[in-house]
């Protein structure tokens, strides 16, 4: 009888009746705790880096914005911004934007072609070599890279010497490593591998059967690329080029050590101002230049977003 009663929850009475309910409540509490734990776990995991990012990026941005609108006496002013929109500061922005555009578009295309050649190669060894080399070279900038180029293509560089021996000294044909286009050339060295790294996964997503399907329907290789390959890759290519733009726009050490400030670029100007090369009464101009760089990058990202939105409407 007891067992029969306990088998029928509706007929249970007495002290034992509360046990299942209490057990149910315990289970519910445990479930709530578990789900809360699951919800908080990602937040807890992200917290250290989020705090670090805020201190390393958020606070400086806020500081740059704040001081860009402050005079040296601590009063609100627009004079810093007025200064950086004229003269050498404006030239610095123009040069930096042109440099970033050239070193995003040219390496973007070169990197895409190189990555495609590697992706379609049958040699797995070559693929691994290029992937490893790209990973290293994409991070090989600054003083080391500058020195390497000076030793190679400087006016007394080894390659220059070899080319001189066959009467092809590039310096005699107007080449100057320490000029704006010298900087462009050096930037290619890390921008092309960076594009290879970024675009290779996207190329892996191009299915061979798309090409075969296109061919089967009468498309030539060019028309396949025009109607299928390039449109499919476009969002990734744009993303890669945006990364190159940011990298080319903000790079400092390579340009500074190569040109010693003779090429006017916004990051070099900030470096110079930070080093104390500032005029009296213009102590906060560096912040305004920094703010200008943020604005340029923000505008670039907005433009990128609009273009990408158009290029990838098929992904939505």
């Amino acid at each position: 009888m007891t067992s029969a009663t306990s088998d029928d929850p509706s007929s249970v009475s007495g002290p034992g009746a509360t046990a299942p309910a209490a057990g149910g409540a315990d289970v519910a509490v445990r479930r709530r705790r578990r789900s809360l734990g699951r919800a908080l776990a990602p937040v807890a995991a992200m917290a250290p880096f989020s705090i670090y990012s805020f201190l390393g990026l958020g606070v400086p941005i806020l500081a740059v914005i704040y001081y860009a609108f402050q005079s040296e006496q601590g009063k609100p002013t627009l004079s810093n911004l007025a200064l950086v929109t004229h003269g050498s500061y404006l030239l610095g922005f123009e040069n930096s934007i042109v440099l970033a555009l050239i070193t995003s578009i040219v390496p973007g295309i070169l990197g895409l072609i190189l990555a495609y050649a590697i992706a379609t190669s049958r040699s797995t060894l070559l693929k691994r070599l290029v992937a490893t080399a790209s990973g290293v070279l994409a991070n090989f900038g600054g003083i080391n890279l500058t020195f390497m180029f000076i030793a190679t293509l400087g006016s007394t560089g080894i390659l220059t010497a070899w080319l001189s021996a066959i009467h092809l000294n590039p310096w005699n044909f107007g080449f100057n490593l320490y000029s704006f286009y010298g900087v462009v050339l050096v930037y290619l060295y890390f921008q092309v591998p960076l594009m290879v790294l970024v675009i290779t996964p996207a190329l892996g997503g191009l299915r061979p059967s798309w090409r075969e399907a296109a061919e089967n329907m009468g498309a030539s290789s060019w028309r396949y690329w025009r109607y299928v390959g390039i449109p499919v890759l476009m969002p990734s290519v744009l993303g890669g080029m945006l990364l190159l733009f940011g990298s080319g726009f903000a790079a400092y050490a390579t340009a500074e050590t190569l040109t010693a400030g003779t090429v006017t670029l916004a990051p070099i100007q900030i470096g110079s101002l930070l080093a104390g090369n500032q005029l009296a009464g213009q102590e906060n101009v560096g912040y305004a230049v920094g703010l200008g760089m943020f604005v340029v990058l923000a505008l670039t990202m907005i433009l990128y977003g609009l273009v990408r939105r158009r290029a990838s409407k098929w992904l939505r």
């Binding site: 075969e212 399907a213 329907m217 009468g218 498309a219 109607y227 299928v228 098929w314």
Partner: protein, 369 residues
């Protein structure tokens, strides 16, 4: 169906199926011979399935026909013309791929219209025709959808419409149903067959699924190791396999050890003729290959064979009987099988006039299906 028929009338080209010849195709990859002298002749408007296990060369044969693979030797002809030197781009063959392969950056309408665009058709014309073809496959309401917004079955129907848009003389289907679930697969199977018959397009269909091949094709070519084992109508292939491989690959067969004497063998106490085989009558130890429906089962308490398994398959029940250590499958009407208990002693008999024999295979675990 009415809609389908009406739509077909508007787009249906004149029967334009081509005669296709594959003659002595050889294709090697390193030491592997994917095609080893494969030959097949396909009549205009015929639906032929290439059936075989993985690695038998069926997809390679299809890709050779499409122009995606180069031959080491052999000849591919379309209406008697050697197309070996014609690129895939100019072969006028529509292909449907296993993985759909719709262009992800184009909506359904533009995918279908792609081939027409490559043929420089006017935009309005190609939109109209693509729309008609989408209606033909029952997807006119999905015209503006992108591939990732459609189900697998819908994508494959768009792929079919895309392949048909160029009015191909040969339609190539590379396992088009294998990525779909069973229900969609059955629906699309019927739709493909109906369209093929209405449009009278010569069609080559690659599959490893014998049910698909037997239910859809006019003829089935069973392939093994890069060669055609047997090419015949589904009924002939099933009931009169000419090689042991076909007998075992298509349908279900039980192997029963026998000793041939003057082209006859004794099976369950009765004499049967040995069926002539392409491979000839093997010598040495041989097995008879028996279809489950060729074996009858009768309850007999004095007999030695006994029932070990029963599988209900609807109208019939498959019974497995242990005979001298050998498992023999037999199909029994389910109402009759209801009276046959597991362990029951039964008597077996063969209903066919002749049986196929093959060299004895190594011992395998007893079947349970």
């Amino acid at each position: 169906m009415t809609e389908l028929a009406d739509a077909t009338r508007t787009t249906e080209p004149a029967p334009a199926g081509a005669r296709v010849g594959l003659e002595g195709l050889v294709r090697t990859y390193g030491a592997t011979r994917a095609l080893d002298g494969f030959s097949l002749a396909i009549e205009p408007g015929e639906f032929v399935a290439l059936l075989g296990p993985s690695g038998c060369g069926k997809t390679t044969a299809l890709r050779v026909l499409a122009g995606f693979e180069q031959l080491d030797s052999g000849r591919v002809t379309v209406d008697g013309r050697d197309v070996g030197k014609i690129s895939a781009q100019h072969r006028d063959m529509g292909m449907v791929f296993q993985s759909y392969s719709l262009f992800p950056n184009m909506n359904a309408l533009n995918n279908v219209a792609f081939g027409l665009r490559m043929r420089h058709q006017h935009a309005a014309q190609r939109r109209q025709k693509a729309g008609e073809l989408l209606e033909l496959v029952g997807l006119s309401d999905q015209a503006q959808k992108y591939p990732h917004q459609m189900s697998g079955g819908q994508q494959q129907r768009v792929a079919l419409a895309r392949a048909l848009a160029i009015e191909p003389r040969v339609l190539l289907l590379d396992e088009p149903l294998s990525a779909l679930d069973a229900k969609v697969r059955a629906e699309l199977r019927d739709q493909i067959r109906q369209l093929q018959q209405r449009l009278a397009i010569t069609t080559v269909f690659v599959t490893h699924d014998q049910e698909e091949a037997l239910s859809m094709a006019d003829r089935v070519c069973v392939m093994s190791a890069g060669r055609a084992e047997q090419t015949a109508t589904p009924a002939t292939l099933y009931s009169r396999p000419t090689t042991p491989f076909v007998a075992e690959f298509v349908g279900v067969s039980s192997r029963v050890p026998v000793e041939p004497v003057n082209d006859t063998v004794t099976l369950f106490g009765e004499s049967c003729r040995v069926r002539p085989s392409d491979a000839g009558v093997p010598t040495g130890e041989v097995d008879a290959l028996l279809r489950p429906e060729d074996v009858t089962v009768t309850l007999d308490a004095t007999a030695k064979p006994f029932v070990t398994h029963k599988s209900f398959l609807g109208a019939i029940t498959r019974v497995i009987v242990q005979v001298d250590g050998v498992a023999v499958r037999a199909d029994v009407r389910s109402d009759v099988a209801a009276d046959i208990e597991l362990g029951a002693r039964v008597r077996l008999a063969v209903v066919s006039r002749d049986v196929l024999v093959a060299r004895r295979a190594p011992a395998r675990p007893a079947p349970t299906d």
